[in-house]
């Protein structure tokens, strides 16, 4: 099992990293906060830590720390457009319920 990017997400991430001018890949993680217990974290990666797990998805390095992986196992990150807004969306099979905003969740 692993954490993956959809093709569209991978294309956008590589594009953003190229424009940013630096970056090893992208970090997916969870934080214990938010209205339903957990919140997603989505960041550029400049430095990895020893314990980090690195997956390769459509040529993009996806970095996850082992604590977060427990909650993210099997997740696919997608890039979607909704009206004028566009951005990333976590498709996480572990989620039992999430708050209406989708920024935080429960397992």
């Amino acid at each position: 099992m692993s954490v993956t990017l959809s093709e569209s997400a991978a294309r956008h991430v590589s594009n953003f990293i190229a424009k940013r001018g630096k970056g090893f890949g992208i970090r997916l993680g969870v934080k214990t906060s938010g209205c339903s217990g957990m919140a997603y974290k989505l960041e550029f990666v400049d430095d990895t830590h020893d314990e980090d797990l690195v997956f390769d998805s459509h040529g993009v390095k996806v970095v996850v720390d082992p604590k977060s992986l427990v909650y993210l196992e099997g997740t696919e990150l997608d890039f979607v457009k909704e009206g004028l807004n566009e951005g990333f969306k976590f498709n996480n099979p572990n989620v039992k319920d999430q708050c209406g905003c989708g920024e935080s969740f429960n397992v």
Binding site: F16, G29, F44, G87, K89
Partner: protein
Amino acid sequence: MALLQIAEPGMSTEPHKHRLAVGIDLGTTNSLVASVRNGIAVCLPDESGRTMLPSVVRYHVDGSTETGLGALKAQATDPRNTIVSAKRFMGRGLKDVAHVEAMPYDFEDGPGMVRLRTVQGVKSPVEVSAEILRVLRVRAEASLGGRLVGVVITVPAYFDDAQRQATKDAARLAGLDVLRLLNEPTAAAVAYGLDNAAEGVYAVYDLGGGTFDLSILKLSRGVFEVLSTNGDAALGGDDFDHRLFCSILERADIDPPSLEDARRLQMKAREVKELLTSCEEAPIHLRLGSGELVDVVVTRNEFADMTRHLVQKTLTPVRKALRDAGLTPEEIKGVVMVGGATRMPQIQRAVAAFFGQEPLTNLDPDKVVALGAAMQANVLAGNRAEQDDWLLLDVIPLSLGLETMGGLVEKVVPRNSTLPIARAQEFTTFKDGQTAMAFHVVQGERELVADCRSLARFELRGIPPMVAGAARIRVTFQVDADGLLSVSAREMSSGVEASVLVKPSYGLSDDEIAEMLKSGVEHAGDDMVLRALREQQVEAERVIEAAEQALAKDGHLLDADERAGIDAAVARLRELRAGSDHRAIKSGIDAFARATDEFAARRMDNSIRSALAGHKVDELEL
């Protein structure tokens, strides 16, 4: 469901705590909104994918308003209710607006700012601008998926307090919280990352649709100062279109076209201009309504030849701005190109030749100002890592100061100080027993009050009577991040206080600002001499007054000859004081001091003697 953006390492925000901030380029012709998403500044498009919103507002009879392209199309059919270029009227009185007679509007000269009569009643330029800002706010909130915490709006570097305040008022009316107003050339420089570049002087060449602005910026310690600005309010890309249009008419050898045909040809001219930035030649093949056929080819070189005078015309303000800043083209470290018209190869060539270096052109010149504003908004909203330097970019356009004795200006806050700022300076009384003091707050670069602009007056009363020069009155100038000035005065021993809040009045024109800056430079030499003279005159007056008081009190210490000598010295100094040679007055004051030395010594002895009279030595605490 909210969609996530990629944050910088360690900068993920808590859910619902994303600080959405945008930058807005509120332009004369077009406006844009931009934001930093996934670490990159991007302009936000509307539903049809257009990023540029024409800065046009149309007021309909039924009470609705239309903004942007739809309104622009109605310009010909409903000119009176279709407001274009409202930016030109921001914070201006009717007399400040150029070419009023050529405009289709029904003007009303309101207090401080001109207003426009429309089918929906009288509208101020602030309301028109607010309409444009509101459309951009709605677009931004739909694109970013939430409410904006703040916005950075760009204004021309030459905008005065009144025009800046009007812009801020428009933002508030549109429901936007202004984090900061940013000078347009500074925003362009920020977009190119020059704020992180080497310190030095940069030029920003901004050729828009109808206006040309050149700004010289100096970067030091991450802060941009505007050294000088110049431009031409009636020169832009449209003039190039028009020249091309005239040339097509000549070549096609056709009768004067109908209005409709002229409009089509003008649009064709614009297309040809745009085509010639990437191609060596552009064909025009157009059947007119009159049945005539226009079939000509324009090459890039021909276009460059026919517009040579226009390109040259932009270089005059460039030279002037450099001269005002006291710089040569070789001292410019980089040149930033702004405005769609700078895509024309002949412009880029001319600028490169003038400065002896290739200008920066890799960002879209239409978007570069909005992108810089977005980057600044992102920093101000707190979305960047803490170790990143905060930029303080707003500066005071003209120095602020107080009137002192002799009609001189004591500058308290120098021009180009970054905001917010507080500066205090101590002043003192001029006369013995003086219990009140009048403060006159002025703005400008000249040394004499009469040549500066008066902002406010207030008085400090209840100063305890003291000898001249003993009172310590601390005057504090405070300018907040919104550019609002408050001045307070406090007598330090008694704590009496007075203050005034200066609201910038609408109506100082950019010509006046430019004039004030220019005359400050031109008259620097005269002003220095004049200041020296006034200073010596005030000093002479002070010593004469002191001597007369001493004579009245202790005149008995002098014999008739000595008294006559001092009287003569007073008369001589009075005479010198009336003259205009500050050096003569200064030496007169020195001579006067020598003539009264003996008298002063005797007064000192006398006062010690009288203080000691009747006391035993052991009673004194020595």
